[in-house]
Amino acid sequence: MAETAWWGEFMFNLKQQRCWRLGDRSIILQRFENEWNSWNLESDVENDEDMVVGEPVEDCCIEQAKFGRYLQQSTSERIQVLPLLADRSVVARPDTPLTLLAGEKARLYVSTPIWFSAKLQPKGEKLLDLPFWRPSDSWFGPSTRIGQICYAKYTAARIQLTNIEKRAHRAITPITVINNHSESLTIERINVPVTLLHLYSDEASQLWTTGISVHRGSHIDNVELHLDKHAPVEAISSVLVSNPRVASEQSILIRSISSLFA
């Protein structure tokens, strides 16, 4: 886990290249007078290496990368790079289905993938919005008619925080589930609405999202989804890094139980 942040504001001189590299996975930006160029070099296997920001390496295989050109009348020298959460909800799955007994409370930790976002300063025009490793598509809902398209894969739900690997391209979401219903709640899959969550960074530059609390009432089928207003307590000396993709003024949302748990 890198101790220094890979995001923030970066200055680009004319023809300067900068590369964000995670093992074989690289994203390169270069500034010209009238255009920005980007190279997106993907890799199949997600790795745990540290993020390195700097000049592209010689054996970078730039010709295999997806090339992008972004035209601008006169390019500015400042660019803001931010980590963002996924652009859809992410489905996490515990290794084995969990059963939360009636009247009990549990705290789960879910690690979700991060997107690389680059915006031009000062106007904030979007240049890039790419996942480091795109998760697989999935469907979450009670039937094939009702539900929503989500991301799955590369996600795991853990009860112990120590069981989650801390990586530069992942954010951890703490989820508290409170089951006040008279029946137990079986959790095979959890739908994490990451588009509604803020992103924080702790003192070791590990990314965290706002915590979520799910309250299941005594007799109703719907659940209350509480979005915390602050960084989770596990994130020590945290600072806000990015805002949610979808702004929500309400911090308590009512959802059907089938839209969150399966």
């Binding site: 489905v91 795109r134 998760p135 697989s136 598509d137 999935s138 469907w139 979450f140 094939t144 008619r145 539900g147 398209i149 799955a152 894969k153 899959r189 399966a262």
Partner: protein, 301 residues
């Protein structure tokens, strides 16, 4: 001057003036109806679908046009009650004369109320698949994927089964695969499930389904069903078939083509078939192929 005034008075006295007035009223009314219906749709643009917009536009336009027509007829001096009576008789006569059109018209109304599909949906009627570009009173217009304009009468839309391909956000692709009898089915099953889990556009849920459909004449037939977002349907099919072929080639899993075995007598060893090349025959064949004029045509047969 007196002549002109006299001419205008004459005109006023005649039916021609009333007719011109009615015609003018109708034309102005037509234009106003057109403008108002367009304006109403523009106002409600963000709240309605393309289908809803078209429906609202037609409703406002034809409603206003009916009012204008009634007013214009009234202006000419035609009594509407007589007109309606005549219209009743006329409708019966017209109904007999134009059964098909009337049937299409009624079917069109039902289609608009039932709404099995909307504009921009992709539908399949009989063997025609295309995007709906217009739902009218008499017919539905489609644009097929090879960019042809197809007009389907509403009557046949009501009578035949219509499949809306864009109704739900996800679709299932059924991949038909055949493997040789000697292959390990469990190995193939694990390989296919692994390919599906690695394919990013293949949905993890609903989970892929592996169905052994039966023992074919030359292969064990498998149906492997995978889900994707409807816009990725073709991309998923293509990518999965390509990946399956590559994986089978790598793993040495045979995809058989129809085999025919020749047996002599009962269930004994296969009839030995061997190919021998006779140099002389081959040479003759080559000669005859190169010199066709030397071969006499068999005119008797």
């Amino acid at each position: 001057m007196k002549d002109i005034i006299a001419f205008i008075d004459l005109l006023k006295a005649s039916h021609l003036f009333a007719l011109c007035q009615a015609l003018l009223l109708f034309i102005i009314g037509f234009i106003i109806a057109k403008l108002i219906s367009t304006a109403v749709v523009k106002l409600a643009k963000h709240k309605l679908t393309a289908h809803g917009q078209l429906f609202l536009k037609r409703l406002v336009f034809y409603g206003l046009l009916a009012l204008v027509t009634i007013s214009a007829l009234d202006n000419v001096g035609i009594d509407l009650s007589i007109m309606l009576g005549a219209a009743g008789i006329f409708t019966v006569a017209l109904g007999f004369a134009s059964q098909t059109s009337a049937s299409n018209l009624i079917s069109g109304l039902f289609l608009m109320i039932e709404r099995p599909f909307s504009i921009t949906d992709v539908i399949k009627v009989n063997d025609i698949t295309g995007e709906v570009i217009s739902i009218d009173l008499l017919s539905v217009k489609l644009r097929t994927f090879d960019n042809l304009f197809v007009r389907i009468p509403n009557e046949s839309m009501i009578k035949s089964a219509v499949t809306t391909l864009t109704k739900y956000p996800i679709r299932r692709a059924d991949l038909k695969i055949g493997i040789a009898y000697k292959e390990d089915i469990e190995k193939v099953r694990n390989l296919l499930l692994d390919l599906a889990s690695k394919n990013l556009i293949c949905l993890e849920e609903p989970a892929p389904v592996f169905i052994l459909t039966g023992f074919g004449s030359s292969s064990i037939d498998i149906q492997f069903s995978v889900w994707s977002r409807r816009e990725n349907f073709l991309a998923l099919k293509n990518s999965m078939y390509t990946e399956i072929k590559n994986a089978f080639d790598q793993q040495g899993i045979e995809i058989p083509f129809p085999h025919v075995s020749l047996y002599a007598g009962t269930a004994t060893a296969a009839f030995p078939v061997s190919a021998t090349v006779n140099d002389n025959l081959n040479g003759k064949a080559e000669a005859s192929a190169t010199e066709p004029s030397q071969i006499e045509p068999n005119t008797k047969s």
